[in-house]
């Protein structure tokens, strides 16, 4: 499983707009680079990132080879209720990773 780094505030007031930062270790090989033998290195990227808040999708991003290695994505959501914010990444060669963070809303 790829290493991930998630930054979600542990506590928030109801209705607050919170910033979520995510980072995942991945080479994001673009498929346009040439290797030692002169052949193209096959593409190996993360193509999809999804964030759900207590099961409801709040953010989704389609990634392309132009995203830098170790994709770092920052976005916002409204803190509606206490619960789990789940993150999932999927991509080429059956890549898949998931992580979650808990938030307490007062």
């Amino acid at each position: 499983m790829a290493r991930t780094l998630i930054n979600v505030p542990a506590k928030a007031k109801r209705g607050d707009i919170i910033e979520i930062k995510t980072l995942i270790a991945h080479s994001m090989e673009s498929g346009f680079r040439v290797g030692f033998n002169g052949a193209l290195i096959p593409r190996d990227i993360i193509t999809l990132f999804v964030c759900t808040y207590n099961g409801e999708e709040v953010f989704r991003a389609d990634l392309s080879p132009a995203i830098a290695a170790n994709p770092f994505i920052t976005f916002h959501t409204i803190a509606t209720e206490s619960g789990t914010i789940a993150f999932s990444w999927s991509g080429d060669n059956g890549f898949s990773a998931a992580e979650f963070a808990t938030i307490t809303v007062e």
């Binding site: 290797g35 709040v58 953010f59 991003a61 990634l63 995203i67 976005f75």
Partner: protein, 159 residues
Amino acid sequence: MSEFRSSRRRFLAASARLAAGAGLASIVAGRPVGATPEALRGAIAEIVGDAQLREGRVTLEMPPLVENGNAVPLTVAVESPMTEAEHVKAIHVFNEKNPQPYVLTARLGPRAGRARVATRIKLADAQRVVAIAEMSDGTFWCASADVIVTIAACVEGIE
């Protein structure tokens, strides 16, 4: 003399307006100024379709000069109340000179609260990056930024 001055001033004002209008029109027509490759135009047309693409409401923050094209920070912010009735549906980012024009498509909704997305991208050359916001009312807004890259990404082989 005063007559001449005033007419010259009027001429300058009019030509400035004309130039600004021409710049805007070229984007609206899907033909951004400069040597924009066909691929970028095609990719934008695929997203926007027949709708009008207007400049404004979108802020694209990128450093004007970067040393390393392998990781260029990018922030897109869109002015929107982000309510059920009026929100940003998606943010699309395109580039001009990478092997492919697509960079990122982020889908958001009223639950986002604030239409602001940040990431890091690869740039193969000094080029223009375009961000397009797709609104819930079906309108499209765009902003672009020119970035100079000294060490390019993607194209170099492994030494």
